[in-house]
């Protein structure tokens, strides 16, 4: 396929072509570099072509030597909140513009070791704060299924790079839905691992008790392969769990026959678009027809998830983002004294959504309000987690819509933060409880993709991939976006 113009769609396809010598890692990299360079959706902040070519040549050497690593030579894209040694990493913010990390995140090192070929860095909402990718300091990302609409966020660029076939997989981060929601809105698969599965070392910190790195791909199996490469304890991140390495693909062909799938009634509420509900109800019928048993489940505290999230997340962010002071790296806007330098640096360096959240988080942690907000939210967090734990005593996985809406027009929600935050109502409880979740394409509503979310118990990623793969076979693959 030396002159083919389309990349293989999955890691398995890429691996087969490479091992049949029908292409080389360098050819795939050149194709991805060209596609990324011609991207029409502002998905990329930078294409690191020389770095990609060097990695591809090294991958070709390993392929020649018979190396069987499943991601060897496979082109991927990295959300620009994940640090990459010697390659600018901005987190979508003016305050980090020009910042070149002296070391790579553990997740990048693990993919380097697996032989995957990083093509470049993708656009995102500033510091991953957003659900539409309109909060990037470097311009919004557009949805390839309809360029007048948002791709979702915050990992919008990573979702688009996969939806358009510019790369085979990408990495995002998910604090309240930032992988699953853009996956849903762009018609690809996106997965958030259990908290503690993946190292956060070298990833720009947002809300440390909620953040996890995870993959986007067209198919479930590629996501599972990427997770196998990423998972595992890291001495540089004390929140990674020391669990033995396991195959996450053992159940991919097993189907859902005999599985008990919980349908939480609180996820089918007013405010959900009728087309989304229709698609998801259809998917539930399909799963039942394949032999799954649908179980009515109640998670009564779901309704409080948004409030818990919008206390804990900005509170953690206000602490994490205190480091941007214009002293050691990043933007410095000098004032008459040091305090004024801090204020001006942060006032000019951060965009409006980041400032809003830092003020909200500082307020929630400030003297006199701590008990009413932060401490209260931590207690309700316990309730939400307990309800999930109870549910997983009765079911193997939960099935819900990923987002209450399909992709919405750019500009439609920017001036109304609360409405914007509601986009994540179905994804953020999963982060609050630290569970693994995945969004897979589930048809369309008025021509726009709908996402189906599966949630499993802690560390039950193999089960999660099994049920998601079963549904993927029912739904069939989503087409490449223009």
């Amino acid at each position: 396929m030396t002159s083919a113009s389309a990349l293989p769609r999955t890691a398995a396809e890429a691996g087969a072509l490479l091992r049949r010598r029908e292409t080389t890692a360098l050819e795939l990299a050149e194709l991805a570099i060209a596609r990324a360079g011609a991207d029409q959706y502002n998905a990329w902040l930078r294409v690191s072509a020389d770095h990609a070519r060097a990695q591809a040549r090294a991958a070709d050497e390993r392929l020649k030597a018979g190396d069987g690593s499943p991601l060897l030579g496979v082109p991927w894209a990295c959300k620009d909140i994940i640090g990459t040694k010697d390659i600018e990493t901005t987190a979508g913010s003016r305050i980090l513009e020009g910042y070149v990390p002296p070391y790579s995140a553990t997740v990048v090192e693990r993919l380097d070791r697996a032989g995957a070929v990083m093509i470049g860095k993708t656009n995102l909402d500033e510091f991953a704060m957003g659900s539409s990718n309109e909060n990037s300091a470097f311009g919004p990302v557009r949805n390839p299924r309809d360029p007048a609409r948002v791709p979702g966020g915050s990992s919008g660029g990573s979702a688009v790079a996969v939806a358009t076939g510019e790369v085979v997989f990408s990495l995002g981060t998910d604090t309240g839905g930032s992988i699953r929601q853009p996956a849903a809105l762009c018609g690809v698969t996106g997965m958030k691992p259990t908290y503690g599965r993946v190292s956060r070392y070298g990833v720009v910190a947002f809300a440390s008790s909620l953040d996890q790195v995870g993959p986007f791909a067209v198919d479930v199996e590629t996501c599972a392969l990427v997770c196998e490469a990423l998972f595992g304890a890291d001495p540089n991140d004390a929140t990674t769990m020391p669990l033995p390495a396991e195959s996450l693909r053992t159940g991919l062909r097993d189907g859902v026959k005999g599985m008990r799938l919980g349908v939480p009634r609180e996820y089918f509420v007013e405010g959900m678009e009728p087309g989304v509900e229709r698609a998801v109800r259809g998917a539930l019928k399909d799963l039942e027809r394949e032999g799954a048993e649908l179980v009515d489940v109640s998670l009564p505290s779901t309704d409080h998830g948004l409030a818990v999230y919008y206390i804990i997340q900005p509170a953690e962010a206000s602490a994490n983002l205190a480091r941007y002071d214009g002293v050691r790296y990043g933007l410095r806007v000098a004032g008459p004294d040091l305090n004024e330098t801090y204020r001006r640096t942060r006032g000019q360096g951060f965009g409006p959504e980041v400032k809003r959240r830092l003020i909200l988080g500082t307020y929630a942690l400030s003297a006199g309000y701590y008990d009413a907000y932060y401490s209260k939210a931590q207690k309700v967090r316990t309730l939400i987690k307990r309800e999930f734990d109870e549910a997983f005593k009765r079911v193997d996985a939960l099935v819900t819509p990923t987002s209450p809406s399909v992709a919405f027009p750019i500009g439609a929600k920017v001036n109304d933060p609360l409405t914007m935050y509601l986009n994540d109502a179905f994804t953020l409880p999963v982060n609050i409880a630290g569970l693994p979740g995945i969004s897979v394409p589930c048809g369309t509503s008025d021509g726009l993709p709908v996402g189906l979310q599966f949630i499993a118990g802690s560390y039950q990623e193999a089960t999660l991939f099994r049920v998601a793969a079963a549904y993927e076979r029912i739904a069939g693959p989503m087409e490449v976006a223009a």
């Binding site: 002293v327 790296y329 951060f350 400032k355 209260k376 967090r381 933060p417």
Partner: protein, 98 residues
């Protein structure tokens, strides 16, 4: 408790070391009042017997041996510094001489 006025936003922005324009103060006051109104609903929940969750992990302290490891070379550390003075980050005077 959720009454948020301009003076609170200005005070909290000061604590967070963020300079805001008067227009930003107006906008954030209105927007954050709406968000706080939604967040305030948590007060309806009875949590008298519920412990807080700070982390979902079933672990407390992770210990390791205290082993000397190489740190980043100084040139790498200073590579992104806005202002440098030898092996120091240069900032404005914090304490005046008396």
């Amino acid at each position: 408790m959720s009454t948020l006025d301009r003076s609170v936003v200005e005070k909290v922005a000061g604590l967070a070391r963020i300079a805001l324009s008067p227009d930003e103060v107006d906008r954030f006051t209105a927007q954050l009042s709406v968000v706080l109104g939604a967040v305030d609903r948590l007060r309806e929940v009875d949590t008298s017997a519920i412990p807080p969750t700070a982390s979902v992990l079933p672990v407390d302290n992770v210990m390791r041996d205290d082993v000397v490891r190489p740190s980043l070379p100084l040139e790498e550390v200073f590579r992104n510094a806005p202002s440098r003075d030898g092996d120091h980050f240069r900032v404005q005077t914090v304490l005046e001489e008396r």
